[in-house]
Amino acid sequence: MTAVDVASRAPAQGLRGERATALSLGVVVGYLSVVVALPMAALVSASAADGWSGFREVVTSPQATAALQLSFGAALAVALVNGLIGTLIAWVLVRDEFRGKRLVDAVIDLPFALPTIVAGLVLLALYGPASPVGVDVAFTRTAVVLALLFVTLPFVVRTVQPVLRELDREMEEAARSLGASGLATFRRIVLPNILPGILSGVALAFARAIGEIGALVVISGSLPFRTEVASVYVLARIESGDQAGAAAVAVVLLAVSFLVILGIGAVRRLTTRHEAAVRP
């Protein structure tokens, strides 16, 4: 390699880098357009076909409103329960030692791996009409919440666990030795550190719960005004040929998903900025 080669390499590489960026950007945007963006655009345009008044008429119809309310209410309840129990499970998995802990740790991911329709069927076996423990909640709102708790279980655990594992325990020990109670230490030292993790987990669980369908078709019974959630309502509208009605409610779900994703992004940016400020 001559000196000229070396000298000319730097700008050439910059150019090549730009070309690589353009090429992969083209591939990624093209793929995303076909798989994600085009279908989304078709959905939004279909929901706007009858104008704003048409859209509002569908979304505020009694059955759609009932379905949306149930979805939002159940998803909110499930997200909150997950915030508590998910944090607790993460805590036990990181700070506790017991036999079989690794197995329990692996089992947490089961709802990610298990098809949701199977999840619904499995819950129906234990908490349905033929329940061996005498608990029959099939086709009730309790069943809806139960199914959603099943499929959203891993979110908070898996976002809190890594943060908790990396957390410096010296601060906690210092707080304890200065006389803080266990609860005070948790609230003042641990919680502020794991809160961003809890929030993103809760947000993901909420989004997942509001869109869930597979686990619900079997166990909820899909009774209009009682156990019909928004996604099941959309499915029912499609099956009866009412695409405009389906599209209107689907767009509401799409908007919620986008808000959740943006919210998680904001939490992530806030925490990285915070970390950058703390660590010089």
Partner: protein, 273 residues
């Protein structure tokens, strides 16, 4: 004094552990164990017969075909997208990030409906497709598109943090020593992120095998033709064939357990790598 606090602490610890385990058994482990028992209530033969009907076998085969098409496509996309997000600078990165994450938060029903509105008879491409006699809906292409959508983010989301962590010093060294972009990718970058890719592939495959909502809409659910394994579970349940539904569920659950084992193994590799 000290003894009292340790005693208190261990009591508290046991209480927490108890709550965690009871919750997991009630919501997760208990129901699964029960389905296992019910499937084999009358021995192995009835369960086996339920599994080996032509329609059920076809459903499993179709699920595997869709997965086999969707996983490689999303793997290549995930790696390219991860590299683009971490190693390149361009405007609109936040927007791209949001789009890649969207399938994680979006209802599969919405995905199915969108494809319906795009490729259906009255959809944007409907007339063109009909004129050229191309079947997307109620056929394999539609099912693959739905599956691609829902399983899109996993490889990318696994690759991005690993790429950030390893940094680009080795890549730059290789470039300085005269390797071209492709060589650097093949010899340096891909080996460094291989366990992240494998982990992402496992997650993607699990999502493909288990997809229900989106595929339910675009497939038309024709028995023996466009019915996947998860749709078959639903169909068996609706026809009051609980044993059949349980047997198929159990096979899918078994696959899920294999996925779990793979996840545990590869996650550990990734951490020690």
């Amino acid at each position: 004094m000290r003894n009292v606090t340790t005693l208190e602490r261990s009591a508290g610890r046991h209480a927490l552990r108890g709550i965690a385990l009871v919750y997991l058994v009630a919501v997760l482990v208990g129901p699964l164990a029960l389905v296992f028992g019910r499937t084999f209530e009358d021995g192995v033969a009835p369960a086996w017969n339920a599994l080996t009907t032509p329609e059920t076998l076809h459903a499993f085969r179709l699920t595997l075909v869709v997965t086999a098409i969707a996983v490689p496509l999303n793997t290549v996309f995930g790696v390219v997208c991860g590299l683009l997000i971490v190693r390149h600078r361009f405007s609109g990165k936040g927007f791209l990030n949001a789009f890649v994450d969207l399938p994680l938060a979006l209802s599969p029903v919405v995905v199915g409906l969108s494809l319906f509105l795009l490729y259906g008879r009255e959809g944007w491409f409907g007339a063109w497709l009909e004129r050229h006699d191309v079947q997307v809906l109620f056929a394999l292409p539609g099912m693959v598109l739905a599956t691609l959508f829902v399983s899109l983010p996993f490889v990318c989301r696994e690759v991005v943090p690993t790429l950030r962590e390893i940094g680009d010093e080795q890549e730059q060294a290789a470039r300085t020593l005269g390797a071209n972009g492709l060589q650097t990718l093949r010899r340096i970058t891909l080996p460094a992120i291989r366990w992240a890719i494998v982990y992402g592939v496992v997650l993607t495959a699990a999502r493909c095998l288990g997809e229900y909502g989106a595929v339910a809409i675009v497939s038309g659910r024709v028995q023996g033709q466009t019915e996947t394994a998860t749709l078959r579970v639903d169909e068996r349940y609706d026809s009051f064939d609980l044993r059949g539904a349980y047997a198929i569920s159990l096979v899918l659950a078994l696959l899920a357990v294999l996925v779990l084992i793979a996840m545990t193994v590869f996650q550990r590799r990734e951490e020690t790598a």
